[in-house]
Structures are given as C-alpha cells and as structure tokens.
Subunit: 598 residues, 2 copies
C-alpha cells in the first residue's frame, strides 16, 4: 500500500470524474493518452517514494542551518530534486517550443501532488521554480527567457518569489524595495525581502528571484510596483552562472513545519550593486503576479490536500492493523483492530470526505486552467475565467482549513503514537498549518471572494456556478440512491443564495465584509458538497452498469457513502454559517478593541 497516493482514486478523479481524455483529444495534447498519463504517474510515484518520502522525517528533524552566511542543507535534498529534474518534471507543463513537455496543467498538478504528499518541504523548491518559470515565460522579454528559462526548465537553476518584506506581508502596497534605472536598461535593486522560501540553498547552481520593487517616481500603492528578475549570480553569455549579484542571506526563519524549505530574510544590494531586470512593463508587477495567482493558489490548496492525504492513508492503514479494545458489550472477546470502532471510522470518514472532496475540486480547477488555454470560443473562455476566479479563494482556503482538520484526526486515530515524531502524522499536521497563511491568508481570501469576485460582477459568476451545481442536482435526482444528498445540496444552495442576496444588497462595505471569512467557508462547504455529489453520480452510474469488480464496487460504494456523510454531517453546518452571514451580524465588527486580551 502506498502512503502517498491512492491511485484508484486519482484515476477516478482524472478519468471518470473529470473525463480528462476529452481534454487530451485537443491537438495541443497530442502526445498524451491514458497509457502515457499512467506511465508518467508511475515514474512520479516511483521517484516520490524512493527519493522524497524516505527523507521527509530527516529534513524535518535536521533543518537547513545558517553557517558563515551560507545555508547548509540536509542530506538527500539535492539528490531527490535531481531525480525530479532528470525525469523532466520541471518542464512538464511548458510548451514544447521552449523545451517543455506540454502536458495539461491538471496533469502537472496531479503529478506534483505525489511529491508534495511524500515530502512537501523538498518539493517546494521545484514548485517555486516552475511558478517562476511560468511567470517569466508569460511576461518576460525573449532575451530574459533565452538567458534564464532553459536552466530553470532543466531544474539546474531554482527560483523564488520575493514579495513580502518585514513590514509588508498582506499589505504589498507598503513594500519599500527600490529599483533604480541604470543607463543600460537594467536596474539597481536595494531592499529587504522576508519569508522567501528557497531564498538561499546550496543545491542549485543559481537562484532566480522574481522580485517586486518600486521604481522611484511611480504611482503610490500597488500601482507603483514593478516585477524584476534578480539572479543570485549573473548569467554569462554562455548561459552559465557568473559573478555573485550582492544578495545576502540575513537570516533564516525557523518554522513550525515545512522545515526542509529554507525561509529567508534576504538583503538585496546592501554591500554592492545588485542588478535586476524588468519583466514586462514598469508598474505592472502586481497585475502580472495576479495573473499567475490562480495557479499558485490552486497549488497551495492542493498541497493542503496532499498533506492531509498522507495522514489519511497512514491512519487508515494503522487503524486496520492496530488491535485495541473490543466491540461494545463484548468484554470477554479478543481485541479488535481499532477500525472496528465507530468513532475511528468517523474520523476516517471525516478525513476521506475532506481529502477526496477537496482533491476533486483542486483538479477540477487545474483543468479549468487547461480549458482556458484550449477554449476557442471567447465567450466560453471568459466564463471559464470568471468561474476559475470565483473558485480560486475556495480552492486555496477550504483545504487549508478542513484538510488541516483531517490531519488532526489522523493524529487522533494513532492516539499517543500519533503525537510522537516517530510517526509521520504530526509532521504532516505541522506542514499543513502553513497553507492557511501563505499565498494570501484565510481573511484575504474571504475579502477576495466576497468583495472582489462576487460584488465585483454583481454575482454573475456565482449565478453561473449555481447553474452548474443545479445541473448536477438534476442529474443526481435521476439516481435513486442520491435523492437525499441532492436535496441537501439544494438546501445548501438556497442558503448560499439567500446570504449572497442580502450581502449584495448591503450598502455598507464594512458590514458586508464583516463575516467574509465565514462566508467563504460556508461557500466552500457548498462547493465541496457539489464535488461529492458529482463523484457519487459517477459512482452510482458505474454501479448501475454492472460488471464492476468487487474491488471497484467497494470503491464506488465508498464514494456514495462519503457523499452521504458530507451531506448529513457537514452541509447542515454550512447552512447555519451562511444564515449567520445573511443576518449581516456585526458582533465582531462592532466589538471595541478594549474588550480583547488582558
């Protein structure tokens, strides 16, 4: 049994739920068919299990150290990433014309998930590099791309995102890093960047920083921010890494989890000139970053899912094999595996519902990115984009909240053992706690959803989503066994719709956004309920067709039961929460500051 992937379930999501083969029919993906995808997943699983998983505990216990201004990395990290590079995974989602493998984004996401589940700390270096390469490829000049992309796609040079500063995390408008134009078109970069994952390491020959800075004299606030490529070592004409570019590691942050990923405070240009190269046009840095935000946020949500999947698979296996206690009223019998106890099954079901529900959503959203690339009808493409924008705060936040909860239950299944570092479940819990914070906090996502995505288009994208969800309900109502589940989702939809109407009519933005985070959370529950109903419909149809193996029959039964669990145990909580949002309650908003703390 693998503890990093349930291949049956991944196949189900890709091939049965999302029907990825329809996407593969597009000429862009001519190189891919079902066997090709399986082969890629096989390779990925092999490397993840052989090179990433075995060092996960080690890179957590023995985190990168700061010595003589350099970072000393734990063993194994470099080898694991080399194997990842050699398999071509850095190049997976990029176009063939720049040396990529031109796989769909959803395939890149699914493949990456195997590595994240095995070892999120080490995988981060690769994902940051792919994200930066994507940004460079989309907005960079052909000269910059020529210099930097090949080494990034080969996994020889890694990359980072340098956005935050010590005084400016959620509030990017307040960054102070400056970029002074030089005569030759380059810029002199000066400032400090904080929380830079992978900001320094001793693995790759070079590090390519994608950095936000202000060109003096530009507009104030976020409109005056530009995007720069700032390499650790300058690129020589032959494409190799040349002299150091005056970027100093000022300190490492020591985190609760994800410890194998260095997290750095970097000083740019403090002890000498630090060169940066403008990407795209001046003052459009935030716009460019936002353009890549959907991918990044799906990535964070998917990472949250994968940390929870690791806990779920491990705790399910543990529950099958750990004997403890007896069935109720059978004190004289032999002990039974703890999976026989109802509460253990509840905790496994809670994990399954969160993990497989959110996994479906993440891959659904990843495939929307592919739909955007391949869609030729402009109106359709706009609708896809709006739907993706609407779902992005959900796909970022719901897993960060509820898959963390799943990790909590994984520890609980193992009891005292789960609380020790001899078992992976507590590490996965610690790793996962970050996902609610980076790439925009829970609160930021709530404001993005309600303030920007819903109020911004007066609920138009939401109406489209509502339409999609109701179409699923109609399909479910045709399955005998899913009537109740469909009705529960309708109740959720009604609660969402009522709350949204009230919020849209509210003229006071403070009041409207007062419970935006809870609105996002309730919204997310409805969306995950929808994902479950979609999965249950597929399962029900497969069962009705007959001729499924016993194993498949169990699998499909599990989908229907988890859908039922979600409908009965979870959706009612969302209704209560959405009702609260619809009441425009201001208890927290109105609370005077003086009532908090000692």
């Amino acid at each position: 049994m693998s503890v990093i992937v349930d291949r049956r379930n991944l196949d189900f999501i890709l091939f049965e739920l999302l029907e990825i083969e329809r996407l593969l029919g597009h000429p862009r993906y001519a190189a891919y068919d079902r066997p090709a995808l399986q082969a890629i997943l096989d390779v990925a699983q092999g490397i993840a299990e052989e090179s990433f998983l075995p060092i996960a505990a080690e890179v957590d216990a023995n985190e990168p150290r700061f010595a003589d201004g350099k970072v000393v990395m734990p063993d194994g990290t470099a080898q694991a990433l080399r194997a990842f590079a050699e398999a071509g995974f850095f190049a997976l989602p990029f176009n063939e014309d720049i040396g990529g493998l031109q796989a769909p984004w959803v395939v890149h996401t699914a493949v990456g998930g195997l590595f994240t589940c095995a070892n999120t700390s080490v995988t981060n270096y690769a994902f940051l590099t792919i994200a930066a390469a994507n940004l460079l490829n989309t907005f960079g000049s052909s000269e910059l791309k020529r210099q930097f992309l090949p080494a990034m796609l080969a996994g020889r040079w890694f990359a980072t995102m340098c956005l935050s500063e010590p005084q400016a995390g959620s509030s990017l408008a307040d960054i102070t890093t400056a970029a002074i134009p030089r005569d030759d078109g380059a810029y002199r970069i000066r400032g400090n960047k904080m929380w830079i994952s992978g900001g320094e390491q001793d693995i790759s020959e070079n590090i390519v920083h994608m950095l936000l800075a202000k060109i003096p004299g530009g507009p104030s606030g976020t409109k005056g921010i530009s995007l720069f490529l700032v390499p650790k070592r300058l690129c020589l004409p032959d494409g190799s890494a040349g002299r150091h570019n005056n970027i100093a590691l000022a300190g490492l942050n020591h985190k609760m989890g994800q410890r194998g990923t260095t997290n750095c405070l970097l000083n740019f240009g403090e002890d000498g000139e630090c060169l940066g190269y403008l990407i795209g046009e001046p003052h459009r840095g935030i716009e460019y970053m936002f353009h890549m935000m959907n991918e990044a946020r799906i990535g964070v949500g998917h990472a949250a899912v994968m940390s929870a999947l690791g806990g779920y698979l491990y705790s399910a296996e543990y529950a099958r094999t750990r004997a403890q206690g007896r069935p109720i009223g059978q004190k004289d019998k032999a002990q039974v595996p703890i999976i026989e106890h109802a509460d253990i099954r509840r905790m496994l079901m809670a994990q399954k519902a969160a993990v497989e529900g959110a996994q479906a959503l993440c891959l659904y959203c990843a495939m929307l990115i592919d739909a955007l690339v391949t869609e030729e009808d402009l109106e359709e493409a706009k609708a896809h984009a709006a739907l993706l924008g609407l779902l992005t705060p959900v796909v970022k936040s719901w897993p960060a909240e509820h898959c963390l909860e799943a990790n909590k239950w994984a520890i609980q299944v193992l009891g005292g053992y789960g609380y020790t570092r001899d078992y992976p479940v507590e590490r996965l819990y610690r790793d996962n706690r970050l996902n609610h914070i980076h790439e925009g906090t829970f609160g930021i996502q709530g404001i993005d959803l309600l303030g920007r995505k819903i109020v911004g288009d007066r609920g138009e994208a939401l109406n489209r989503l509502d339409h999609l969800m109701r179409r699923t309900v109609a399909e479910a109502l045709r399955e005998e066994c899913l009537r109740e589940e469909a009705e529960r989702l309708v109740e959720g939809l009604e609660a969402l719709s009522s709350a949204t109407q009230v919020l849209l009519s509210c003229g006071d933005p403070d009041r409207r956004l007062a419970n935006a985070t809870l609105y996002l959370d309730g919204f997310g529950h409805v969306v995950i309920g929808w994902m479950w109903l979609k999965q249950a419909i597929v399962a029900s149809r497969k069962l009705a067709l007959g001729e499924v193996s016993q194993q498949d029959s169990n699998f499909y039964d599990g989908k229907i039961m988890a859908c039922r669990y979600f409908a009965r145990y979870e959706l009612p909580l969302a209704r209560a929460q959405l009702a609260l949002c619809g009441s425009l309650d201001t208890t927290c908003l109105d609370a005077p500051i003086s009532i908090f703390g000692g």
Copy 2:
C-alpha cells in the same frame, strides 16, 4: 501586560461568577479570604513569569535527551520547580494534618493554571506529583503515607502515573505488568509501561510511580487490576531515598509538543527485583484511579484552556501593535493596527469565547470538588457528584477541541510570524494538541458521557443540569440585553433534550453510541453557552448597578458581547450537530472497512 493571565478575568470568575467567598466561609477554609487568595495568585504569577515563562521556548527547543541510560534535562527546569516547591504549591490543596495548606481545589486549579500557561512542560512534573499524592493520601496505608507523602508535598520527590503499556493504551484491561506477592507483604513488579510522563528525570531525588499491575490469579479484565506504589529508589527508615529499585529507562518518546516533559518507556524489574507496595485492597486499582479521574480530567481540560489563553493574550497584544493594511475603501490612509480589521477581531472573539467560556467551566467543576468535600447534606452531595461526573467528559474534551482551535487562530493573527518558532503561538498549539489524547481520548470521553453518565442513570443527572441551565435562562430573561442570548440557549437545550430522548430510547447500543463523540461535542457547546449566559448575567447586573469604572464597564461589555458571539456564531452549529445525533445516523458505523485508505 501579562501573557500568562488576565487577572481581571480570573477575579471575575472566582469572585463574581463563582462567588468563591461563600465557599471560603466554610470552616475548612478559615485560613483563606479574598486578600489571601490575591496574595497567593500574586506569588504564583511572579514565579510563573520569572522562572517558568522564560524557559518555555528553551525546554521546547532543547528537549530532554537520553544518554547512558539517563535523562539529561534542559537547564532551568529544576530551578523553576524548586521555586514552585519553596512557595508551598505542592502542598496547596492537601489537608493541614498532613502538612498541606488546605486551600480549596478551585484555588489550586486557578494557581496551577498560571504555571501551565507559562510553561506546561515543566508544570507537568508538579501536577503529576500532586495527583499521585492525592491518590496515595486517599487510598494508601498510613505507613506508605508516612514514608512517601512528606517528600512529595515538599516537592523533593516527584511522581508519575504508570497506566499504559505499549499494547494497552485506551484498553487498560489488557495490561500485562505483573505483581507477585512476597512473604513480607510487598510485591515483585515486572513489566513495561509506556507514555510515562516524568517517568525519568534528573531533577528530584526520587520518583514515586503509581502503577497498575495484575496480581496473578485475580479476575480477568479491569477487575483484576491493582494499584501499587513503586519508587525509583526505596525509602530508607529516615525517610531518605535509598538503593535503586530496578526500574530502567528503555527509551524516550519524542513528542510534537510538551517536549520539556520526559515521556518514557520504563522496564520494571527486568534486571533484578523491583519492589512495589499495594495501595488499598487488591483488584481495586481501576476503581481508585477512577475516583481521582474527575480531578485529573479537569486538570487536562484546564491545561487546554491555559495553552489557548497564552495564544489569545499574545495574539491580542500583537494585533494591537502590528500595523498592516488599511480600513476598507481607505487606500490612501496610513496603515492601521491589524486589530482594526474585522476578521482579526473575529479571530480574537473566537479565542475569547472559547478560552473564557471553558475557563469558567473548568473552575466551576473544580469548585464542585470543593462542594463535595464541604457538603454535609448527603442527598446534595450525591447530586453534586452526579453533576460533576456528567460534566467531567465535557470539561476534558471541549477545551481540548475548541481551545486548540483558539490556538490555531492565534497563529493566524500573527500570520507568517505566528508560524515561526520565534513566537510562542505555534508552540502553544503543539503543546495543546496532546490534551485530546491523554487522560482518555475524545472518543473515550464520548462513550463515557453517553454510555455511562447518561444511559447509566437514564438521564437523571442530565435532568438536573437541564434544570440548572433553565434557571439561568430565567435569570437572563430578566436582563433586557440578554433576551436573544437566553432564547438561543433554550434552542440549544431543546436540541440536546430531543437528541438525548431519542438516544435513550434506542435499544441498540452500537447505534446509540455511533455518534457519541459528536454528541459530546454538541453537549459541550450547550454547556459553554450556559457558562457564557451566566457570565453575561453577572456583567449585566454589575452594569445596571452603575458606579463601575470605565475599565470595568469595558470588561463587562466584553462579557456580554462574547456571550452574544457564542449564541449567534456557535450555538447554531451545536443544534445542527445534535440534530444529527438525534437522527441515529449510521453512515460511519455501517461503512465497510474496505472503503477507507488506498
């Protein structure tokens, strides 16, 4: 500002809510009045802040190590506990005739909470010793008490609870440690004990293990378990510690949190005779342990509250001082402290509601222990005992679940900073995660509540609690500002009552207990809602009296607002959960094992 206690709130709970001065009127507590209690709290706060808090991060980062069969403890631990001992806190709750200070249990609990909040890892050594001394004092022979109690009450000898074994955690019936009678009345102990907190250390001269073992030939299961006192070093006639008693440290468990408390695997009698002394009568060990369980479980619940209080106080202060972002629609203004943002206030309110609600419940239950000691009317005492028994699983579990959630929000308030080990909030979160596991897991507590405490007396104790809660509702309805809150609690009471009726009528124990954990959680919400209504009534009355300072007026306003928050944001979730319990749902119970995992 203190980050370990809100003295105003502690005073409120002790003096205004619980009216402890009425208890102090009992002759047993003649030595105590309000100024005396304040003086004790002052001393405790001083020691906790000076000796416990400053080493909290250090004992976490630099945990006890196993070297040459011994434990090497981090610096500062011994000094901190010496200060605790010198102030007399080991002796605080014990009777004067055995050298105790005869303070009420609720005072001992409140005092202990200051240390737990400052440094739960180090405080554990003291609390385990006090718990063991309590057990010895209640059931031990006068000879055993004469030998061991004085050193324990002086804090010279520490103690442990040796219950679990590697193969028997939640299932104590399956322990295999044996106690073979010797001719002189002592026993030879042989076996392994797992998860022993404080099982080995280099701080105290001796360690007194309270150990469960089976005397061969006794009844099977838990009825064959006896309780023994097993010292690390035998007691010499002059009361000093003599030769080693063949207890070997076989290993240390490395935990996610509470790292400063050693957690040991101990071998008893493997390399030579290990002497144990029977406490009380043979085969009554479980009964004795259960007798002490209310105190122990209140202690765990209170520890969960205190870890969350630490996070709440820290994050509230951070939110007041960290400038980031601007009010909605004021992009050109200066940044404001983050406490100005609605979602930050929501997270502080969620913490306040969980922490202060659960703190009130813990101290309420601790005072029920005092009521049991001082009550002369036998019927009343029985009713107190039944109420305490009913509330014990709640006081153990609700804080472990919801105060852990509070710790999660504390991290979230600090954002990226909160995820680093430079700030205490992530440590408090890790520390707190244990409280759902030890002293009976969440699942065990659910079965205790529903299977034993409710079904056991056909809901009689619950009826009494319901009566008490409805009396509070009636009082609240007389306060103009609490009408809605009272009505919401009534809705919660109705939901609890309906669910309980259905569960009591269910003839199938498996089905009845299928959602016992969720029933406990919903039950807990109603009880905490009650605690909030009680607090709000006191606040409302004080405000109506007039003549309160501005500071007090803010404080009382805060109580009313937090009550409102709990009624509006939390109680509806409990209603949904209790409705589910009342539906006798078997989705998880019926789920075949094959659907879980990969």
